[in-house]
């Protein structure tokens, strides 16, 4: 067995910055890097930390370089940092690729059988992972468990915390996993102590500047979920009955999740031949009175465009999750972007109203996905949940109390039933009303015919080419859009966060919310977060801009799509005040701080 090398022992034990702690775990695809990151996240969660984990992987099944960046913080976070405190290297490439992230206080935990480390440059702890596994006759995937055992010892997380996590989440071959983890744990030596689940040492700060930081220590660790899981649960909460999808990264894990939990929640889950079938099936379900949702990424949404237009014309409620990835075309399948905003705003021929929400974190994803379903049914139109790879696949501490509060604000609507036919007169599927919303009915309905039509149609749902009806029907659809906009006025569709006294504001949408909040804190800036993008909350934005002299927009695209949208609603943002990132990677806190340093200075 390779002796343990405690390269850091001759140096002073570092003082950890306990408010924030970042760990990077890297290896090849097939090493279980995502799961390893999640295990590390669960450890910190049990110590009372909030978690954010970014998972970076290329589009391949085996090989390549994958890494999980697990960040633990005493405050609610939704962003990662470039700098790390611990680097866990399952292979040499991980060390070489990420050495630049190490600080003086950082150290490296590595598989000493595989990775060579320069003692003069890095403080490290080598564990004989490969030989330990051989000895224990454990499969290669367990190198994760072994190195995480060592990791716990090194950073001072009690064995019982790790054991608890493994027992709960790795029930398969548990004994062997525990044995291998223990060997890793025993091999390592303690560098610093982060505390244990029992001693807590939780010292939460009180949120003081208008953001959403947790004001009190939570008694129970939060669940850790991806944005996709939050979306899925929100849809289920809203009464989802059917989920239809064709797999496409980064939306596929919603399909997997729905399929896995179909029986439990009584869901009809279908994976059909194409996204074209997907969006049409959703409307078949809606016609029969079943709440349906679909998810895809940009390419799949292209195939859905004609079906979306059908939903607009036929007034079929349908929820569409578009998890953006870097385009155009196949682009970077496993990397992030905010490049589809205008596509989603405009997809489908002709003019019809639609709802678009872009949640910024897991709690918003949960509540507003439920809300999207509800709005789709209240106004009988397509409702979009616009996410991106960052939100979809990153792991977040899910604060159920916060989600409860957030959903509580939407409660009246989340419980509101769609407008149904009262049975008093002949059923007309497209009856004209003041709000533009026609009462719904579902077959079988004795004595009545429920007729849905993709052509211009009269109130009965029968095709017509009459110019007057054509105009009236168009106005009916637009009236629905206006009714929805009025209806949404009472909600905080634009959030004003950060330093409310600042006259400079960051403008952002979607997954950039977290990083903007964090960078704004450092610079003492306000953050204006646009949550709902259609109907565009023009008045809310105008109110948010009271007292603001300068707006700096932050987006993950190359043309400033929110800036352009806001521009068409009266907010002009100078090109030099648009911070844009379009390399497929989300902003790290340092990235944005650097950019702000340049722009604000």
């Amino acid at each position: 067995m390779v002796p343990i090398r405690l390269d850091g022992l001759d140096r002073q034990t570092p003082v950890m910055k306990m408010d924030n702690f970042s760990t990077l775990i890297g290896g090849i695809a097939g090493d279980g890097i995502n799961e390893a990151g999640l295990t590390a996240a669960r450890l910190f969660s049990r110590l009372g930390y909030h978690i954010y984990m970014y998972y970076d992987y290329p589009s391949l099944i085996r090989g390549g370089h994958n890494f999980s960046l697990v960040r633990a913080s005493r405050e609610k976070i939704a962003s990662h940092t470039d700098g790390i405190d611990v680097l866990i290297a399952l292979n040499q490439e991980t060390l070489e690729k990420h050495a630049g992230r190490l600080k003086d206080s950082s150290f490296v935990i590595y598989d000493a059988d595989k990775v060579k480390i320069d003692d003069r440059k890095h403080r490290g702890c080598g564990l004989a992972i490969t030989s330990t596994l051989l000895e224990a006759k454990a499969p290669a995937i367990m190198k994760n468990t072994c190195i995480l055992g060592g990791y716990c010892k090194v950073v001072g997380i009690d064995w019982t915390v790790l054991e608890d996590v493994l027992r709960k989440h790795l029930p398969k071959m548990l004994d062997l996993n525990l044995q291998v983890a223990r060997k890793g744990y025993d091999q390592a030596t303690e560098f610093c102590h982060l505390g244990s689940g029992s001693d807590g040492a939780i010292s939460h700060r009180t949120g003081k500047d208008g953001d959403e930081r947790d004001g009190k220590p939570h008694e129970k660790p939060h669940p850790i979920i991806t944005g996709n899981q939050a979306v899925a649960l929100g849809l289920i909460k809203a009464g989802l009955g059917a989920y239809v999808a064709y797999p496409m990264t980064p939306s596929s894990s919603i399909l997997d999740f729905m399929a896995r939990h179909a029986r439990d929640f009584g869901l009809k889950v279908i994976h059909p031949e194409s996204e074209i079938a997907v969006i049409l099936m959703a409307q078949g379900f809606a016609y029969a009175g079943v709440k349906a949702a679909v998810a895809t990424s940009g390419g799949g949404l292209c195939l859905m465009a004609e079906g979306l237009s059908l939903a607009g014309m036929a007034e079929m409620p349908v929820v569409v999750v578009n998890a953006q990835r870097a385009g155009p075309s196949t682009g970077l399948p496993t990397y992030t972007a905010q490049g589809d905003l205008h596509f989603v705003l405009n997809a489908g021929q002709g003019e019809f109203p639609r709802f678009i929400v872009a949640p910024g974190d897991a709690e918003e994803a949960y509540c507003w996905s439920a809300m999207a379903m509800n709005l789709a049914w209240q106004f009988q139109l397509p409702a979009f949940i616009l996410t991106d790879k960052t939100l979809s696949e990153s792991q977040y501490s899910f604060d159920f109390d916060l989600a409860d509060r957030l959903c509580g604000e939407l409660k009246d609507d989340l419980q509101k039933a769609p407008l149904l036919w009262d049975g008093t007169e002949e059923y007309r599927r497209y009856r004209y009303t003041e709000t533009g919303v026609s009462p719904l009915a579902f077959p079988p309905l004795p004595g009545q015919a429920i007729k849905t039509d993709s052509y211009v149609h009269d109130e009965m749902g029968i095709t017509t080419e009459d110019p007057l009806i054509t105009r009236e029907a168009a106005e009916k659809r637009q009236r629905k859009g206006r009714s929805m906009a009025e209806y949404l006025e009472k909600y905080e569709t634009v959030k004003v966060l950060g330093d409310l006294k600042s006259r400079t504001a960051l403008l952002c949408w979607g997954s950039n919310k977290g990083v903007c909040l964090e960078a704004a804190r450092k610079f003492g800036l306000q953050v204006i977060f646009v949550l709902v993008l259609s109907p565009f909350p023009e008045k809310r934005l105008k109110d948010a801009l009271q007292g603001v002299d300068r707006v700096i927009s932050v987006e993950c695209n190359s043309t400033g799509q929110l800036a352009r949208l806001a521009g068409s609603h009266g907010l002009k943002i100078k090109i030099e005040d648009q911070i844009l990132k379009y390399d497929g990677r989300p902003f790290s806190v340092e990235d944005l701080e650097r950019e702000l340093g340049r722009v604000v200075a």
Binding site: S45, K168, K220, P221, H222, P223, I224, I225, L233, I236, K237, G239, G241, A242, H261, R263, D264, F265, G266, K268, I270, P272, E273, S274, I276, A277, L280, M281, A282, Q283, G284, F285, Y287, A288, G289, V290, A292, E306, G307, L310, F398, F400, Q415, P443, P444, L445, P446, G447, A449, I450, K451, T452, D453, S454, Y455, H457, M460, G461, I462, T463
Partner: protein
């Protein structure tokens, strides 16, 4: 119920002599019939694509979903899965289902989902005024193939047999009694039913004479035999106009259905919320 009760106020705009009239009157008669035999009209949903065929739903006073070109099957499939008590009938054209929506058709057969497809097979695009379709013969002089189509046609029945459809038949718009018989069988069949209807397009592909000469009804065939069905189906490949064209029911089988695989259990809101909480607890 009188088949006439199934009419709507919509003005019928098919060309005089169009084969679609036969399909409509056959279907009205069948639905009226079935209403008296335990399938109430309100439990029937008609789904159409886009093309001359599709106007049929405007002319039928019944539940309908007038979908888009090539997209009857996904809509119909979901309606059936959503509510198994509904009988769902698709009307589609040869351009609609064999070109634009071919994948859906194959998958409906693959799934053996319990819906019915009536293919208005006039072997030409009518509404776009005369282009060749997947069942037009080689050499067809259409507006998009002025020198004659180079491609050979698809035999949709052969495709359906290979893909797993469990009721396969062919009718002709000049034989309305046979159409009624086949439509009724198809609707009552449990599984994916496909009825190819040779429908004459008087304006762009008038094959009355040829069909009258060459069509014949197959009798005494063993419809449970895949091989026999295949032999009958292959005896005419849509390319030639100098061979007999079989009509009738060619294949019928009993097989597990996709729509049977869904549970009808639904938790209420309170139960749902508590299950969500439990699930989240497992993710701590």
């Amino acid at each position: 119920m009188n088949p006439k009760d199934l009419a709507t106020k919509a003005q019928v705009t098919w060309c005089p002599g169009c084969g679609n009239f036969s399909i409509m009157s056959a279907m009205r008669a069948v639905l009226a019939d079935l209403a008296g035999e335990g399938l109430p009209l309100e439990n029937v949903v008609l789904v159409s694509g886009i093309g001359c065929h599709a106007k049929i739903v405007d002319y039928m006073n019944a539940n309908s979903f007038y979908s888009i070109h090539g997209r009857t099957i996904p809509v119909a499939s979901a309606i059936k899965i959503a509510n198994p008590d509904l009988s769902v009938i698709c009307f589609s054209g040869d351009g609609d289902s064999l070109a634009e929506g071919l994948d859906h058709l194959i998958f409906a057969a693959k799934r053996n989902i319990d819906i019915t497809m009536i293919l208005h097979d006039n072997r030409v695009y009518g509404l776009t005024t005369g282009q060749f379709t997947p069942t037009s013969p080689q050499g067809f002089h259409g507006k998009s193939t002025p020198d004659g189509a180079v491609e050979h046609p698809i035999n949709p029945l052969e495709l359906m047999l290979a893909s797993g459809a469990t009721y396969i038949a062919r009718g002709y718009t000049h034989g309305i009694e046979q159409l009624q018989k086949l439509f009724k069988e198809a609707i009552l069949h449990k599984g994916f039913s496909f009825v190819d209807v040779l429908q004459v397009c008087v304006s762009y592909n008038n094959l009355y004479e040829s069909y009258n000469k060459w069509t014949y009804t197959v009798e005494g065939n063993d419809a449970t035999s895949f091989d026999e069905a295949q032999k009958i189906i292959r005896s005419w490949n849509y390319d030639r106009s100098d061979v007999p064209i079989p009509l009738g029911r060619f294949y019928q089988a009993d097989k597990e259905r996709f729509d049977q695989s869904f549970e009808q259990y639904r938790p209420g809101p309170t139960e749902r919320d508590s299950k969500i909480k439990d699930l989240l607890d497992n993710l701590i």
